[in-house]
């Protein structure tokens, strides 16, 4: 049973499928919102395969080993995090405190992303890497505090317990709407999605840390980012929308899928609605608004617990 869970559901294959699906849906939603047709369903897969077949160019002076290990580390840490994030109540493994491990593993890609800029020697990569680190400090603090809310409320750092707690009370998003909103904002920053795609802003730093990557490595980077999107969305659904629990009697998987698509819709609309922020604007926003509000939310949660 364990190899099946690791490799097929809810492991690698399922996540890969979800990554492609979500990436397509995201592009499709944004396109429709902007009045375009959008890509066909096979576009993300086609892009992935095309990148795999492309020539892998390494710039002079770039660290060869590091630049091939980094995308793998990024992908592996996302996949490892996925082991502990239940999909419709099923997870490959679970233990007390797995939320903390998941949060740690999900912030690994940010570090590898910064290092990717560092090891490939281009100026755009280095500037992009610096920006990604700056951005990390702005979104990660409110994100972590916001995610601590449900854990504190349910009194457990085990994701399965948090879901169970919401099962016999109500959704976390209803008890902590502010925390949910901040978590979504934090997720946007984590995934470097549109309003907060500062480290890879095309008109400013070309491709950011990934400017010099090509071929298979770039494909892995994209896959890691797409999977991170999936795992991040699943995590939010579990912590704030009660996992697969809804009215009793409904099958678990469709409910979970619906909730996940709802969060994806929020992310897509956010990227269609706003212009990219500047890095100093994000830092101000993060330290002046997001982090204090997240603390406030946790304080409210503590008061609720009595």
């Amino acid at each position: 049973m364990v190899p099946f869970r690791l490799l097929v559901y809810p492991g690698f294959l399922f996540l890969f499928f979800c990554a492609m699906l979500f990436s397509w849906l995201d592009r499709r939603i944004i396109a429709r919102v902007q009045g375009r047709v959008g890509p066909p369903w096979y576009q993300p897969l086609a892009d992935f395969i095309k990148l795999l077949t492309k020539e892998d160019v390494l710039t002079t002076g770039a660290h060869a080993l590091a630049s091939s290990v980094l995308p793998m580390v990024s992908l592996v840490s996302v996949l490892t995090a996925a082991l502990y994030v239940p999909v419709a109540g099923v997870s490959a493994d679970s233990f007390d405190g797995d939320l903390i491990v998941v949060l740690f593993l999900l912030s690994m890609p940010a570090l590898t992303y910064f290092l990717a800029g560092w090891v490939s020697v281009g100026v755009y990569s280095i500037i992009g890497g610096h920006r990604s680190l700056l951005q990390y400090f702005s979104y990660e603090v409110p994100f972590l505090i916001a995610l601590a809310g449900p854990a504190v409320l349910s009194g457990s750092w085990r994701i399965a317990d948090i879901i169970a707690y919401q099962g016999h009370t109500i959704w976390g998003a209803l008890t902590q709407p502010l925390g949910f909103l901040l978590a979504v904002v934090g997720l946007i920053g984590k995934l470097k999605r549109d309003p907060l795609d500062i480290p890879k802003a095309k008109s400013e730093v070309v491709g950011g840390p990934l400017t010099e990557f090509s071929g298979r490595k770039l494909a892995l980077w994209h896959l890691a980012l797409d999977m991170q999107t999936v795992v991040g969305i699943f995590l939010l659904v579990n912590l704030f929308l009660g996992g697969s629990r809804f009215l009793t009697g409904l099958p678990a998987f469709p409910v979970f899928a619906l909730k996940a698509l709802g969060v994806l819709l929020m992310l897509s609309l956010a990227s269609a609605l706003y212009a990219r922020l500047r890095i100093d604007q994000l830092a101000t926003l993060g330290s002046r608004w997001l982090a204090p509000l997240a603390l406030l939310q946790v304080a409210v949660v503590l008061w609720m617990r009595g």
């Binding site: 429709r32 919102v33 009045g35 959008g38 706003y274």
Partner: protein
């Protein structure tokens, strides 16, 4: 700094409106591309009207037209779509209404030489022939 919620959700009604509207782009190879009626496309000639006066050749800004004349009765008018600027000055310059543009796009070829079109091939004995 006044904080107004409207300024943060200003685009929401817009995107809902555009969700309801049909999309402006088409999936190109599968949906037909429409070339409008008055589009200035490739150059054609009513060969029977052409007198070989070479006014079009003189005024063509891109040197897309060539007239090879052997004598008064024998000449060939050659058109190079790859040089053509599709400005339609030839149509304007022609005093006999012989040269005109249609709303077609010149086809793609593998070699430049295949694009070359003989518009008029006038010989003394026959009336006209079109290439």
């Amino acid at each position: 700094m006044p904080f107004r919620v409207r300024s943060l959700i200003y685009m929401v009604p817009q995107i809902i409106r555009s969700l309801r509207a049909p999309s402006i782009t088409v999936r190109f190879p599968f949906a037909p591309a429409v070339i409008p009626e008055g589009y200035r496309g490739v150059v054609k000639v009513h060969a029977e009207l052409c007198r070989g006066c070479s006014l079009c050749v003189r005024d063509c800004p891109a040197a897309a037209l060539e007239l090879h004349r052997e004598n008064r009765e024998t000449y060939r008018l050659i058109y190079h779509p790859e040089r053509c600027a599709y400005c339609g000055q030839c149509e304007l310059s022609c005093n006999f209404g012989a040269i005109y543009q249609v709303n077609e796009i010149s086809r793609s070829t593998l070699h430049l030489s295949e694009l070359e079109t003989v518009l008029v091939d006038r010989k003394p004995e026959e009336e006209d022939s079109e290439g």
